[in-house]
Symmetry: C2
């Protein structure tokens, strides 16, 4: 016994200070775990684990989970771990498909009324995108159907924001990001540009298309077992960063996509749905730089940035009382 | 759009039957995920995921989890996956240390009043244990301090159960199971015997000692961050299987162990605590087969098995109403 005390002390544990708890049954075990975790020196960690344990245990009790079901869950988590690599994070995909990523995003990136809503970053942003001038094309020739994107970056008062850094990326006409091609040498269908003096921006791109999330792993199997499909609706990513404003990570979703209402990762907000308008005016098409003045789609969208103060005020509303204590 | 419908059909999905949902914010996303999962063809799976999603999302909302904290959690899960191998299941250890294994056990193996309580199996049971006769020693010479274990196997009416298969296993005096030695050639400190005509059993063993759970991985780090130690109190495992009765997996914990009230995996029930009694009677010690009639500890414990009907009735009480619907 003294030996055990000595060993515990080596681990920085004073056994006499631990709660004297026993009798783990379905009714008492949760309080027992809380009591043992009450020694946690980090208040935030203690708070998080208190809620984690409570929900995990309530889940098991409410479902009267069987031993076999719980083992299936633990095996699923082990398999999910096996699927991870330096370039694949199957747990992020799990979080995405359970709607948790989108929820965490909604809580942490809530915006004030009038500001453009945020949505999940996704796994396809890269740091190596080229810089473009207004009107340039971010997609090389032959990558898909032509699309012209333009609008204005302003604050919530409607004042233009010049010099905002605009990062944008999208799939090609095959539903693939450039990084999904094994022979990628250059960035494509992605680029960085800056808003003009009057806050305006414009660039050429291709019409993005819907695509499946990686579905050859445990998460894909889970999604299928739940009777769901694995597709994301088409979208154009945009990330806007301007001094004095909160960085905005968002995306625009063309109306009419059949997956718009069943996004595999719950990313769509109705305020981010845009109408693509066909432009058949050959003169305008030539002026915008499209080859042979071909018919193209037009995406017109203004972007409204929030200040850090406006963002903070909005987030206060999304944070439940318990977490503000 | 037609192309997307065609691709969805290839996955067995009828898009027109999916819920038409949008606007994922902190208040609405949970219902959205429920609605999408409502197509699940397996009722039990649907029920489990409904509760899983609700608790996972409530947890995130109640803690106003930050993006960084959620990424830390996902990285932790990824690291836990990396620690798994054919002989190590770090997720089981995670489940153990969060009290979930013990809770699942309590729900699934609840026993009627009077029957011996169950507790977690643990990872150290093996199939290769040798068979022993009454009075034999399951531990080879020099493995620890002598212990004599005896008692009677009965049903809840007190009637003896003959021919019950008794599997038992324990640590040696160093706090290690035989399987933790790299040079293991034979099973040791484990064995199988059968109860006699009058239900009695007796065998020699060594006094088990407390030991740390594997703490070199992410779970060990988590337990330390929570301000907890990593020790399990000393115990002797027993698993009893007799025709007409429920198989019982349990363990007996000698009173006085300093970790008894803070078991790292929440396995102890007070009804499973036993008093070890020193036996100094040389004659008795010789008769029991101990070398030179040395002083030894005595563990006297009767075991009461439940019938499947008795067990089922007990479990009905531990299963909340919601799961019985």
């Amino acid at each position: 016994m003294l030996e055990a005390n000595r060993r515990a002390h080596q681990h920085g544990i004073d056994l006499s200070k631990l709660p004297q708890l026993l009798d783990m049954n379905a009714d008492t075990i949760t309080d027992n775990v809380h009591a043992i975790n009450a020694n946690c020196p980090d208040d935030r960690l203690k708070f998080i684990f208190k809620h984690l344990i409570q929900h995990l245990h309530d889940f098991v009790r409410e479902t009267s989970l069987t031993t076999e079901e719980w083992m299936t869950a633990l095996e699923f988590l082990k398999e999910t771990g096996k699927m991870c690599s330096d370039i694949r994070h199957e747990y992020i995909l799990l979080s995405d498909t359970l709607g948790v990523s989108s929820l965490v995003d909604a809580i942490n990136h809530a915006k004030p009324p009038g500001a453009t809503e945020a949505c999940v970053l996704g796994p396809f942003f890269t740091e190596d995108a080229h810089e473009f001038q207004q009107g340039d094309s971010i997609a090389s020739e032959g990558k898909g159907d032509y699309m012209y994107v333009y609008g204005k970056v302003t604050n919530t008062k409607g004042e233009p924001i010049p010099g905002a850094i605009i990062d944008t990326w999208e799939t090609d006409g095959h539903g693939l990001y450039d990084t999904q091609y094994a022979d990628r040498t250059e960035p494509d269908c992605r680029g960085r540009l800056f808003s003009a003096e009057d806050g305006s921006y414009a660039f050429r791109a291709v019409v993005p298309v819907s695509y499946p999330i990686p579905s050859d792993g445990p998460v894909g199997k889970m999604v299928s077992a739940l009777g769901r499909h694995v597709f994301r609706p088409a979208h154009l990513h945009m990330q806007i960063d301007a001094q004095g404003y909160e960085k905005l990570t968002t995306a625009f979703y063309p109306r009419g996509d059949p997956y718009l209402y069943s996004d595999a990762v719950f990313g769509v907000h109705s305020s981010l749905i845009v109408d693509l308008k066909p432009v058949t005016d050959k003169e305008l098409s030539l002026k915008r730089g499209f080859k042979d003045g071909k018919t193209h789609m037009e995406l017109h969208r203004d972007i409204v940035l929030a200040t850090p103060e406006e963002g903070q005020a909005a987030r206060k509303q999304t944070m439940p009382a318990v977490a503000q204590k």
